[in-house]
């Protein structure tokens, strides 16, 4: 019974870590007391996302009809709750005529995908693999 309770605590712990790591880049590592890594991800990933927005990149809509657009939308969402701050600041609608439009898209998509890797790393730390 104690083992079951401990197992339950561990699964709640890694789940919370992963959710935190997704919501705020680096938060999972900070929770695991990997301070340097956490701070780096906390600074660099939002900076990359912001760069993409300022370059005129677009936060793609979630659409099934166009699979690649839908996949790009999923990748964009990988950055976490910061994704939802773009709209209120008038960013993310995409300036197609901008010279840097496609670069902006690349920065936005890759920032989200890198945070997905960061979440996986936070999971490995939470379950004791690292």
């Amino acid at each position: 019974m104690r083992e079951a309770a401990a197992a339950g605590d561990r699964s709640a712990s890694w789940l919370l870590t992963c959710l935190a790591a997704w919501a705020l880049p680096g938060a999972g590592h900070l929770m695991a007391r990997r301070w340097a890594k956490g701070v780096v991800f906390l600074v660099v990933l939002p900076a990359m996302f912001l760069t993409g927005l300022l370059l005129g990149g677009r936060l793609f809509p979630f659409t099934v009809a166009e699979p690649l657009v839908g996949l790009a939308a999923v990748a964009d969402l990988g950055i976490g709750l910061i994704y939802f701050l773009a709209g209120p600041f008038g960013l993310g609608s995409g300036r197609v005529v901008a010279v840097t439009y496609e670069y902006g898209n690349a920065f936005l998509i890759v920032a989200g995908l890198l945070n997905a890797l960061v979440v996986l790393d936070a999971y490995d730390i939470a379950v004791g693999r690292k």
């Binding site: 991800f41 900076a47 760069t51 010279v99 690349a106 890797l117």
Partner: protein, 57 residues
């Protein structure tokens, strides 16, 4: 900033930094890995650019 080269350098910097911190634990190892990744990105980008140069749009 509209320079293709500077944007490529910035992109390579961000990605190399994140991968270096993810894949290595000691600062010296992170710095070495990050430098290799950064150099590889830049060289690869320049090489691919020149390889594509002869081909029409």
């Amino acid at each position: 900033m509209t320079s293709h080269l500077l944007l490529m350098v910035l992109f390579a910097f961000f990605v190399s930094l994140v991968f270096a911190v993810l894949l290595a634990d000691e600062p010296a190892a992170q710095a070495r890995l990050g430098a290799k990744l950064f150099g590889g990105f830049l060289l690869g980008g320049l090489l691919l650019g020149w390889l594509m140069y002869p081909f029409p749009l």
